[in-house]
Subunit: 158 residues, 2 copies
DNA sequence: CTGAAATCGTGCGTATACGCATGAATGCGA
DNA sequence: TCGCATTCATGCGTATACGCACGATTTCAG
């Protein structure tokens, strides 16, 4: 066994570590790591359909729906009927959601720095590129079963 | 926003893609991606305590316990009292577990190849190194709350 | 030796991941 | 135009992630 089987292992370990750290960092705000991902994705601009939101956060629509129910109840997001498509609903941050996001963004800064500082100059963009390539390859391999998530580097996480 | 906030996003996307693909690949065997991780970790050698198993697969002990209950019921793992520590139990693959693992390892081969082939020569070991550094940095940042998982590159995943 | 701290597994509660199924709406081809 | 395929959100069931609490056992410091 060598590098080939090391990739999934290292990927899993890194991701779970990130997830754990993020959960802890946002706990004081009563928000989980994944809720932050959702809020951050919405903070990026216009209202999105649930489907588009799920795509942008690389998540399953079913999961996103459950999360939205929860966050809507907390008053951080609002869902409205889509202007032109009766099947869809648009999701956007509320004013409270925007305020909460700003605090969360600051709370996530140490984590982003720890990851960035663990790398040498120039390695961060390289890592991002490699990971995106992996994600693309795996999503394309399963393209016959559904639309791959869109990868938009402007989306944010801790 | 730039590379610094891109890292968590790319990491999440890559991991979830891997997880999804793996789940699909092992579904025919009635095994999930995470169950494969557990079985693969045990396939590496001697019986482990639950705590050590959880560490080696970068998982939470509570989660591992629930998984073991399930896999024990399926007859793929067995848990026994620890020879010297009355608090602990050791976990090992059964013969059926070993047979199942061999099939799963083969089923995961296409996924490992897809990831590997998405990279240029020399990039795989680099990616693994970068990911391990990230994981280490994040785990050390939270070391005050507990023992970090051990990172053993010999452990396997799809 | 003794008491406190640490460790082990267990279980609970909450959150997330995702396949599958469903009904309603939209898009597309004949 | 019409019927079929696709898309959207919803909800269910199963699995996993993890903090927290607990009881039992082991380790450690005085």
């Amino acid at each position: 066994m060598g590098s080939k089987s090391d990739i999934p292992i290292a990927l899993r370990a890194a991701y779970l570590a990130l997830h754990r750290c993020s959960d802890a960092a946002f706990a004081a705000q009563g928000i989980t790591a994944d809720q932050f991902v959702l809020l951050a994705t919405l903070a990026r601009g216009d209202a999105l359909t649930q489907r588009e939101l799920a795509r942008r956060m690389s998540s399953d629509p079913s999961t996103v729906r459950a999360m939205l129910v929860l966050l809507e109840r907390l008053g951080l997001v609002k869902r409205e009927g889509h202007p032109t498509d009766a099947r869809a609903r648009t999701v956007a941050l509320t004013a409270a959601g925007k305020r909460k996001f700003r605090k969360l963004w600051a709370a996530g800064e140490p984590i982003r720095s720890q990851m960035f500082d663990a790398l040498n100059p120039g390695e961060a963009p390289l890592l991002v590129q490699l990971l995106n390539r992996i994600a693309t390859a795996l999503n394309e391999a399963s393209i016959s079963v559904g639309q791959p998530p869109s990868f938009n580097s402007h989306e944010v996480e801790p």
